[in-house]
């Protein structure tokens, strides 16, 4: 049994939204009771669309946002108890936008060296060596050390972000849409790089993405989120070959593979989009579900796992 890197139990995160001067505040349940485990060496993909809570969940797994309730354990310790510097040595992020993830006023070298400085490394020579090593590791020529972010292309900036994340050799890397903002030809380079680094440095990845083709290529396990809950989890092959939750099916159905002989799929989801502040009763997916049954609007489904395939849907309850 592989070592459990992250163990999240019943995690919830609420935001207070003010509804104007006279209507008081309302609770937005961005993440609503999520259970998730991540084992060492895995590449877990968190998949979902706007408003599903995947970014909020990722921030909680990074320790950047406290939970409203529930526990997150990092290598056995509750994440809230892990000291800031130790947390930084264990989990690191890579963000989506290579144009806003680098401080425009700092040089590349100083951006990549920051994690070391924060950890207290004082020797400038060893820092420089590590920086150059890491730059080569991610495919950046070390002479770019003195360049500024605005002088680099999108792909190069993303490599800088990767270098910064890896300079202290963390164990877990949380990637939030790491290639969505990049061109197709650059995306493949970054994906290949991420795969290589995972083998080389024995990393565990949590990848947030809405691009299912990328997910299928790089992830070992996939968790599908909808309106703050995880509605299905399975190994990648199983999920793509045998999706169980109607939302997962609609999602996979909507993936546009470059096949000119196929037309545009009809995922039958309807035009109405749920409002996270005012979620539907019972199963939150029922208004858009092609297989909705009468009791779906009244009772929320209970999740069931079978041979590592978890799904939360009344269709599978006995």
């Amino acid at each position: 049994m592989a070592e459990l890197m992250i163990d999240a139990k019943d995690v919830t995160r609420n935001f207070s939204i003010s509804r104007g001067m006279f209507r008081g505040k309302q609770q937005l349940k961005a993440v609503n009771g999520v259970n998730l485990t991540v084992a060492r060496g895995e590449v877990l993909a968190l998949v979902g669309e706007s408003g599903c809570g995947k970014t909020t969940l990722a921030k909680m797994l990074l320790g950047l946002l406290p939970q409203s309730s529930g526990t997150v354990e990092l290598c056995g310790k509750p994440i809230n108890d892990v000291p800031r510097l130790e947390l930084a040595r264990t989990v690191q992020p890579i963000f989506q936008d290579p144009y806003s993830s680098l401080n425009p006023r700092k040089t590349i070298g100083s951006i990549i060296a920051l994690p070391m400085k924060v950890q207290g490394v004082a020797d400038p020579d060893s820092m420089q060596r590590r920086v150059e090593e890491t730059m080569e590791l991610v495919g950046l020529p070390p002479r770019l050390r003195n360049a500024f972010p605005n002088q680099l292309s999108g792909g190069q900036r993303q490599r800088v972000a990767i270098a910064r994340a890896l300079v202290n050799r963390p164990q877990i890397v949380v990637c939030d849409e790491p290639t969505s903002a990049l061109d197709v030809s650059v995306q493949s380079q970054i994906l290949n790089l991420l795969n290589d680094l995972r083998d080389e440095l024995n990393l565990t990845y949590i990848i947030i993405s809405h691009n299912l083709a990328v997910v299928e290529h790089i992830a070992t396990r996939v968790a599908v989120m909808y309106l703050g809950r995880i509605v299905e989890v399975a190994d990648t092959d199983k999920l793509f070959n045998d999706p169980q939750h109607p939302y997962t099916r609609a999602l996979l159905n909507s993936v546009l593979t470059p096949d000119p002989n196929l037309g545009i799929p009809n995922n039958q989801l309807g035009a109405s989009y749920p409002n996270p502040i005012d979620p539907p009763t019972g199963c939150s997916f029922h208004p858009r579900c092609a297989n909705a049954m009468p009791h779906c609007s009244g009772i929320a489904p209970v999740g069931k796992a079978q041979k590592g395939h978890y799904v939360e849907c009344h269709l599978y309850e006995d």
Partner: protein
């Protein structure tokens, strides 16, 4: 000759910069017929957005547009004044952009904006306009249309806003719709719905559709014909079948190798990639613009400009000195 909705000949766009003149679009020829969808596909910086802006005469002030011919449904709009162009835009030529939040005025209701568009281009009574707007909203799949007319853009989700944009575009029954990355900012499931809607409406109204995108999946599913752009030029064009089943230009072939395809690309194996970067287009450039990144490049490629050629007079054209057979045999796509 099928009804040609758009004919563009020899379009060039230059942008003067401090460092020199940027030749963003170079001698482009495209056309769109009634009822068909032309997709212009390329990566950032290839000039595809500037092409659409040039056709709509919405280029930034600094940019210089040169054209030999620009016909919309048979009428030349090449020398149209700003007033004449603004009469066409939103009327015979519909436009859909990527960010519906910036194309819709947040200060006015949906109904207000739709009715104003109608009044701008037609003489029509207020009640008739409202009725038409309501019917159009229903046509694009928006339920409770009456209610929606009174709502503001920020009260709608991204997908709904894009539907409203489409409805507004259709109000005046355009001959041509130009859509620039219309679904890039939308979720996957909504994207499929919007594209399906566009396709259905195009068939119903028999319009021409020019869709600009970087997403090859979208292109494959919706395009009748495809033009692949690289560094300001069209490097390959043909029907969707031709481009996806038998891509010829090394750049097109390279792009196809880069994308992961569930079921085809094996997990764990590295994806194909295109080494190098787009060259600078500032100042004069001779020869093939893809040469530095092409593993079939030779000195001959850099010596003189290469024009689009058309193997055996079929409609698939590509810009390369090598012949179709050699290209087809190069590294398996």
């Amino acid at each position: 000759m099928p009804d040609r909705v758009l004919e563009v000949k020899n379009l060039s766009v230059d942008i003067p910069l401090a460092e020199g003149v940027l030749h963003a679009v170079d001698d482009l020829n495209i056309y769109v017929d009634k009822g068909e969808t032309l997709c212009i596909v390329g990566e950032s910086g290839c000039g595809k957005s500037l092409t659409s802006l040039a056709i709509m005469d919405l280029l930034p002030k600094k940019a210089i547009r040169r054209l030999r011919q620009l016909d919309l449904a048979g009428t030349s709009i090449l020398d149209y004044s700003e007033k004449q162009m603004s009469d066409i835009r939103g009327n015979k030529m519909g436009m859909i952009f990527q960010e519906p939040m910036t194309s819709l005025n947040p200060a006015f209701t949906i109904g207000n904006q739709m009715i104003e568009t109608l009044h701008r281009h037609r003489t029509i009574s207020g009640d008739e306009a409202r009725d038409l707007a309501k019917r159009m909203l229903e046509k694009v799949g928006i339920t409770a249309a009456d209610q929606r007319l009174g709502q503001y853009p920020h009260q709608l989700s991204g997908g709904l806003r894009q539907r409203v944009m489409i409805a507004m575009t259709l109000l005046c029954e355009p001959e041509l719709i130009i859509a620039d990355e219309p679904t890039t900012a939308l979720d996957v499931t909504i994207q499929a719905q919007i594209l399906l809607l566009l396709k259905d409406l195009q068939n119903e109204f028999d319009m021409g559709l020019m869709l600009i995108t970087h997403d090859l999946g979208v292109v494959a599913r919706i395009a009748t014909r495809v033009a692949v752009m690289y560094a300001g030029q069209i490097v390959e064009q043909g029907t969707a079948q031709q481009i996806f089943e038998n891509p010829l230009h090394p750049y097109t072939r390279g792009l196809m190798r880069c994308i992961p395809v569930p079921g085809k690309t094996k997990r764990g194996t590295p994806l194909g990639s295109i080494p190098g970067m787009v060259p600078s287009l500032i100042g004069e450039f001779t020869g093939c613009r893809f040469a530095d990144r092409c593993d079939m490049a030779s000195d001959a490629c850099r010596q003189s400009d290469i024009s689009l050629r058309d193997p055996k007079g079929k409609t698939q054209a590509y810009r390369c000195i090598h012949d179709a057979k050699t290209l087809a045999k190069s590294e398996v796509a």
